[in-house]
Amino acid sequence: MSEFRVCPDSGFYFHKSAESLMKVNAVVGIVALLVAGILAIGVVLTRWQEVHLLPADMFYMVLTAHGINALLFWCIFFEMAILHFASSTLLRCRLATPRWGWAGFFLMLIGAIMNNVAVFSGKSSVMMTSYVPMQAEPHFYLGLILFAVGALIQVFVFFGTLVIAQQEKTYDGSVPLVTFGAITAAIIAVFTVASGAIILIPTFLWSVGYVSHIDAEMYRVIWWGMGHSSQQINVAAHVAVWYLIAGVLFGARPMSEKVSRFAFLLYIFFLQLASAHHILVDPGISAEWKIFNTSYAMYLAVLASMVHGLTVPGSIEVAQRAKGYTKGLFEWLRKAPWGNPIFSAMFISLVTFGFIGGITGVVMGTEQINLIIHNTIYVPAHFHATVVTGTTLTFMALTYLLIPVLFRRKMFLPWVAKMQPYVFGGGMTILILFMLGAGTLGVSRRHWDMDFAGAAMAFEYPAIAYTLMAVGAIGGLLAIVGGAMYLIVAVGSLLFGGKLEPSAGILESFAGKPLHASVYNINKPARLEMAPPLPEDHNKGGGFEAPGTFALAILLLVTFVVYYFINWKYLSSVWPLG
């Protein structure tokens, strides 16, 4: 039976079952982003003290739901679509056990809904971290457990597809780099779900009364084994997508397969271990462990990110130079397609992830410096730079890439899409930078009232802290507008975008449609060949292939070094402790 189609514009093959799963995962992910985005309005307008929109109980409920829907449901559903794309589509292979794929998807969906029901009932406003002994309703935890199990099943379908691809020899040589990155994300996902199970299952049992006590510190240690590694799924996935976009838009070839793959391997080996940066100011954790954990483990992962930070733009530069954009250091960048939202979103993501997310993360993950940052609004500022301008913006870029390829639709309102990465990335960057500032002044995260109204004793933040939060909130509103623009383009394209021929139709890949009317007319795709051979002189000559990128990398390093030592200086001004 013919079950494959080929996209005439991109040359990508889609297997029917894989295509359906990609679509449903991506669409549900986008719905979660919509929910999170609406909730973000409540969050920013409450943290803008002059507006102070929501009452306290609503604020904490909304913040809990914002964090969970954005960080867990949006990112992970979308990542499932990426996994199926990186296996079935890139390797031109049929999806392994589609039924299990669907089972995994539905479990995730049921879990996500169950968790949202618990949160919106108002009795589970425990934040996404749900630190014990504060207790949520049992179905809060159960929802998360079902979601995690579903994700694990889809990850195994991904592994199964890889095995089939290898056995049926659907490709020549080794798996492509993008698939390698996806494998990295999937392996980390297995670790993540394991930690999650170890801590969430007992917590669920505790919430229904079968377990009498859960140690609060143990909970934190294991919970972050999940919480931290789940962020590395995001990083591995979005870095893989950066490489994909560089390849699709520029025909860019990795500068060195060896280096990029080795960097992904470092993620697998070291990111799990690095979770102690969340417990640096907790009682009783030894200094040796913290140093080992944040340096040996974390810095090798940081090293990996610094490598990708060079090789992703570097590969684009090499490709652009080959096309003749060779003037000066930066002609390749100036002449890049800044009006194409796929590129602009991806590049803004790369820069903000590295310069803001990366640097702030390493600084606050330093054993002693964490003292002056822990639990301030600096922390959400940092991770909005990693997971919003980093991961989310990259996934938006991928959506623009997939609308014609996967959904066979023309982009709806392309001029909106063209501006979207700038509005979203720009607004978010403002929010991030100003919250970083407010955090440095000690403004607390997850806090309803900067005025402490009604408290028995008074404390006042400096006036400038209010200004920083207000400007940040305006940036946040701009980002919400940018998020809405994305949703309009994405959903609009599916509903109203012009059909591309041959059209698969949005629902065509799903069962029940008569096959004869379909475009699934390929029985077995042609084998995926290896990339064309490298030029004779590849990496044998002396010069720099990508000098502009190297200059940018040095700029990153200088910023990093300066900001790092500024923070030590700041630390040295607080009360001596030991």
């Binding site: 060896k258 040996y296 002693q368 402490f452 995926l528 009360w575």
Partner: protein, 178 residues
């Protein structure tokens, strides 16, 4: 040509790496090592380090110790909470509970104290402002730190770990006198 095709060379791990990448990896590695060394160096030369002294405890046990200190050294009262001026160098206590920091401490500048922190219920965040020292306060654990307030004045202790609807009401005080 691209990242989404199998590598051009079947033996891709044997393909030489470009000079530029090697230099960058070397620079990045050196920087990672410097960052690593900063942490142990700060333990030796820096003044702000977290002790690892901590004990398992219970709310009842910890509460009893706090009360003992309060009974001995209370010098006043603010908003219904005792102000306590314990002797220099002694063990001093502050507990977090829904929703207050208890008691208020009055300390001497440039003198060292052993501060014990714990929670009676949920997790709380000890956030000393405006100095901006932030610690996680976990029920069941008595965290001990040697502190040396080096500036006189009035400090706020706010809670920066979400602890329920009254989270923003948790404001405590530490006074430091010359």
């Amino acid at each position: 040509m691209t990242s989404f095709m199998p590598p051009a060379d079947r033996h891709w791990w044997k393909v030489p790496v470009g000079k530029q990448e090697l230099i960058w990896i070397a620079i990045a590695l050196v920087w990672c090592i410097i960052m690593f060394l900063m942490m142990p160096l700060w333990h030796v030369y820096g003044k702000q380090n977290l002790s690892t002294e901590a004990y398992q405890t219970t709310p009842a046990k910890f509460g009893a110790k706090v009360e003992e200190m309060v009974e001995k050294y209370t010098v006043g009262e603010e908003a219904g909470i005792p102000i306590v001026a314990p002797p220099v160098g002694s063990d001093i206590y502050m507990l977090g509970r829904l929703w207050q920091w208890y008691p208020v401490l009055k300390l001497k500048k440039d003198q060292e104290y052993r501060l014990h922190l714990s929670s009676m219920d949920f997790q709380h965040g000890f956030s000393l402002q405006p100095d901006n020292i932030n610690l996680q306060v976990v029920p069941g654990y008595d965290m001990v730190l040697k502190i040396t307030p080096d500036k006189s004045g009035e400090y706020g202790v706010i809670c920066n770990e979400y602890c329920g609807i009254g989270h923003h009401l948790m404001v405590g005080k530490i006074y430091v006198e010359d």
